[in-house]
Amino acid sequence: MSDRVLIVGAGHAGATLAGLLRQAGHTGPVHLFGDEPELPYHRPPLSKKFAGGELEQWLRPAEFYREQDIAVHVGEHVVEIDRARRTACTASGTSHSYDHLVLATGARPRALPVPGAELAGVVSLRTLADARALRTSIAQRRPMVIIGGGYIGLEVAAVARANGVEVTVLEREDRVLARVASPHLSEILAAHHREQGTKIVTGAAVSRLDGHDGRVRAVVLKDGTTIPGESVLVGVGAVPRDELAIAAGLRCEQGIVVDAHTRTSDPHILAIGDVTRRPCQDFLVRLESIPSATEQAKQAAATILGGTPVAAEVPWFWSDQFDLKLKIAGLVPPRPATIVRGDPATGRFALFHHDGGTVTAVESANSPAEFMAGKKFIASGARVDPARLADDRVPLRDAVIA
């Protein structure tokens, strides 16, 4: 309870852990280091609500950290770990000792390796500063090209369209959300975005960005097509910020490898959040989501304080696009068998993916009951009757085969 805990990274995972340690009665020093100049904030509004006044939402007010005796070092970049001495050194040259070091350094947007990516008007989205830049470009109604049809790209596309901005989404694969959603959901969402006036081009390989006076003017594809745009968002995925861990010799495989207790290959170092590759449903996966960050913060608190290990969770996340509140649980298999409940045309539906009647994932829109039930089906390994589950007149509970 008197151990010294250093948390590197003041995003959702790191800040949640700091609070959880105090909740559980930890009395030792807790230090939270963040690269960014701001106190920890909610990241989901960055892509979902950035155009309006709801962008800046702090996880807790400044007084909270003082009251809870959590030392927050904003704008402090940890540059080196000395595992033998158990110290971490910051860019300003201060050295901090630890009993437990927690790496919560998150991920950074994957760079687009094409000429012109450095032009003004080309942004990626990870930080509050990025979102403010995007807000300005939306306010000026600059035609926007979004490179990458993932969740970030589609959320930003939805906000931009809702604000009357002309939007083109360029996706390299043959469908949007190719790596993260079922083909069926991709198809439904692409149709929904097109109905709202978004242009979506799939199979689009970007060759270069053209500019004028240092500002982006167009995106050029490998087939020669030129798409004019005065604002370009690059949303082609994120890479874990595991450099510190690699330099310190911790086991990393595109992310810091941790166990279900968030332990790395060094017993004094834990890792949580987007930077990790973690066990989940028999796989080692990178999950970039708030629920996963929260879950790992709980696991880390239990490990540091010697508490009861946290039970395995069903991974899930949410996304907001236009009037669709999407909630997805489980890991979507590559070639799912799917039960559709509700009607995608009405914007209220759930796709239950199953393996011989055992639900493994659910993708839902504006269907909280289906989502919650689906999450329970997955957790319990319940078997469902596909025909009954597909009929939304049959109560969800009655779709389970007893």
């Binding site: 609070g19 909610h42 989901p44 807790r60 909270f64 809870q68 629920p291 009951a369 919650m372």
Partner: protein, 105 residues
């Protein structure tokens, strides 16, 4: 300022002043009380702020369909279950008592 009494999973009871316009969830998060996880920051997305409203139910707006559906399958749901992010305090709210279940995943 309205006072809200929280009975927590660990058996402790906390009476907290929560400013008008804030939610029962906000009061818990601001004071670092265990039990209300509040992952989504109060946008009625995550259902990790489930409480039982033992006293003062009538001070609050009726749950929306969305909240009702989230609660229908929440662990340990009861007729007095609410999502505390939807319980916004006003001057009238006197004597609100909530119990926080230990199942806010």
């Amino acid at each position: 300022m309205p006072k809200v009494t929280y009975s927590l999973p660990d058996g402790t009871v906390h009476a907290i002043d929560v400013p008008c316009g804030q939610s029962v969830m906000d009061g818990s998060v601001r004071n670092n009380l265990p039990g209300i996880v509040a992952e989504c920051g109060g946008s009625c997305s995550c259902a990790t702020c489930h409480v039982f409203v033992e006293e003062g139910q009538s001070f609050f707006d009726e749950p929306t369909d969305e909240e009702r559906e989230l609660l229908e399958f929440a662990d340990g749901a009861r007729p007095d279950s609410r999502l505390s992010c939807q319980l916004i305090l006003t001057e009238d709210c006197q004597g609100v008592r909530v119990t926080v279940p230990d199942t806010n995943g």
